[in-house]
């Protein structure tokens, strides 16, 4: 397989409502990515594309990928739509990697979008709930904030995780997003404020839940040869590890078995969890995706070998659960790791320096690609250039992880039904 690099990225500012059409949002993201290459890449040189969007219901247009391919002036080149719920963007990057690594394409545009603002929030939640089992889960009143809340409750029961620990994650992500001009929310919260806010589904309050959003994002994937041409300063990223895990559609069908060890781990470290995992408190798909990605990238000590992670924090609680699946801390220690400031900028592995979904927004098809854009800027050491906005008081240098050389992006669907973990590195390799 050929090495696959990421040379540029772009996005629209995620917003509650963007009244431009989806196709023009995609064009704005693409224009940003091309502009960032200072004219070294022409549109006509892109030889394939991957389009990622989640919901035909939200878009009220089938085959939207043909509409965008057309609008972006990419016809008659090869293209393909990828859809996998919340992990749509992460799967899109995986598909782009396949295009380039296989030799089918040298320069692949991976782009995604979602427009969620054309229906009210309750109807939007209904559309998303249709991505759970519509024979058994949805008809009893199930929807995603509810499913995740039951998982949070079980995590608290299993491990003694506290509401305050969940709340601190939300506070951290809002604080980071304050210095990211692309984020939908520029708000500052205290843990007390988070806990006193409107209850959505016990124990989750409104600021612990990501918001509906309109937006688009894109990445340009290419061969090493092209990367050297397009970024003579070597400010590009290399995709060195890819993983994809899955789990049962119905949360209640998850097994109670044994933990999957990560590369280099002795399974006996999980002996106390025998017959309890993943249950309803952990994400087997995330663990499996991390295992594959770490194996491919040669990661045996994620705390030492990762400089940052952009994870799919649709809920503050699921960010905490994900720390454990990714091996950033032991199962059950997610709350303690927050208290030790592990996921903060300046901590062991800053998680969501961008502000994550909670603060940036979650226009589903764009989200996983947005993570790639932020990861690229981290590795380029360019968050100050891309994320600052004096009018908003955003200082992008404050979310730059100093000397970042290897990062992880984690994209997540359903109640953990599809999960991707992708590892990006500077061309000179990772390790702190």
């Amino acid at each position: 397989m050929r090495q696959v690099c990421i040379v540029s990225g772009g996005m629209t500012k995620f917003a509650k409502a963007n009244l431009n059409t989806q196709e023009s949002m995609c064009k704005d993201a693409l224009d940003y990515a091309l502009h960032d290459l200072d004219g070294r890449l022409e549109l006509k040189q892109i030889d394939s594309s991957i389009c990622s969007y989640f919901s035909d219901h939200f878009e009220s247009q089938l085959l939207f990928d043909s509409l965008t391919q057309d609008y972006l002036a990419l016809c008659p080149k090869p293209s393909m739509r990828i859809e996998g719920g919340g992990a749509t963007g992460g799967l899109g990057i995986r598909a782009g990697y396949m295009n380039v690594a296989s030799g089918l394409s040298d320069l692949c545009l991976v782009y995604g979008f979602e427009k969620m603002s054309e229906v009210n929030t309750a109807k939007g939640n209904e559309f998303i709930a249709l991505a759970s089992d519509t024979d058994f889960d949805y008809p009893v009143g199930g929807y995603y904030s509810g499913y995740y809340a039951t998982m949070a409750m079980r995590h608290m029961h299993e491990f003694g995780t506290t509401l305050e620990q969940f709340a601190e994650i939300a506070v951290k992500n809002y604080e980071n997003a304050f210095h990211n001009r692309w984020a939908q929310k520029h708000e500052r919260w205290t843990a007390e404020g988070v806990l006193k806010a409107k209850l959505i589904s016990t124990p989750l309050t409104l600021p612990m839940v990501c918001v509906m959003s309109d937006g688009a994002a894109c990445l340009v994937l290419c061969t090493e040869e092209w990367a050297k041409k397009l970024r003579p300063d070597r400010k590009y990223a290399v995709l060195t590890g890819l993983g994809c895990g899955t789990d049962t559609m119905r949360l209640g069908d998850r097994p109670h078995g044994d933990v999957i060890p990560l590369p280099g781990e002795n399974p006996t470290k999980y002996a106390h969890l025998k017959g309890r995992w993943p249950g309803l408190h952990s994400f087997r798909g995330a663990r499996e995706a991390a295992r594959q990605a770490y194996l491919m990238a040669g990661i045996t000590d994620p705390l030492r070998q990762l400089d940052f992670a952009e994870v799919h924090d649709a809920y503050a609680s699921s960010e905490l659960q994900t720390y454990e699946d990714l091996g950033l801390c032991m199962y059950g220690d997610g709350g303690k790791w927050v208290e030790q400031k592990g996921p903060y900028i300046g901590g062991q592995v800053p998680v969501n320096p961008s502000g994550g979904l909670i603060a940036c927004g979650h226009p589903v098809g764009a989200t996983g690609i947005m993570q790639g854009v932020f990861a690229l800027w981290q590795l380029q050491n360019t968050t100050a250039d891309h994320c600052s906005d004096t009018n908003l008081g955003s200082d992008g240098s404050k979310i730059q992880v100093e000397g970042a050389r290897r990062g992880l992006i984690h994209s997540h669907a359903g109640t953990g039904t599809y999960i991707t973990v992708n590892i990006l590195e500077t061309p000179d390799g990772g390790a702190k």
Partner: protein, 147 residues
């Protein structure tokens, strides 16, 4: 008549509605069983895994399953009190969404907990099934109450 919400950009109302004829297929006996106040589950003929909701084909090993009647008393495995919901369920909030563990069943079963104050529900709470008399052929034909 089309409702205009804004002029520039022009924003107009659109209507979208669907009625369909849906088949429960090979798990029909679960819904038919509720009418007889039975919770029907399946057990794998090869590995013995038990499934509720039922599956015709085992989700662990792929072998065929047999039907059996599940117990109607168990405990709350986890739950949440919903104060917001999908549009279709907004009129019902607050309500308790729960996963119930039943003895001899490997999965946990999604259901509502009713006939108690939401704040009185706890993980481990003993519960028993109740059934709707006039069924509507959905999983809402069964729910659980404190035992």
């Amino acid at each position: 008549m089309t409702h205009v919400y804004n002029v520039k950009p022009l924003q107009v109302g659109r209507h979208y509605e669907i009625d369909s004829i849906h088949s429960y297929g090979e798990v029909s006996d679960f819904f038919l069983g509720l009418q007889q106040r039975k919770i029907m589950a399946t057990r794998c003929t090869k590995c013995g895994a038990t499934w509720l909701p039922p599956r015709r084909d085992c989700g662990k090993c792929g072998a065929k399953t047999d039907w059996f009647e599940a117990p109607q008393e168990g405990t709350v495995h986890t739950f949440s009190v919903l104060h917001f919901a999908a549009e279709a369920f907004l009129k019902e909030i607050p309500f308790v969404l729960a996963y119930v563990a039943l003895p001899g069943i490997d999965t946990v079963f999604i259901t509502r907990i009713k006939e108690c104050r939401p704040e009185d529900v706890y993980i481990g709470m003993p519960v028993r099934a109740r059934f709707r008399r006039l069924v509507d052929w959905t999983p809402n034909d069964v729910w659980f109450v404190p035992a």
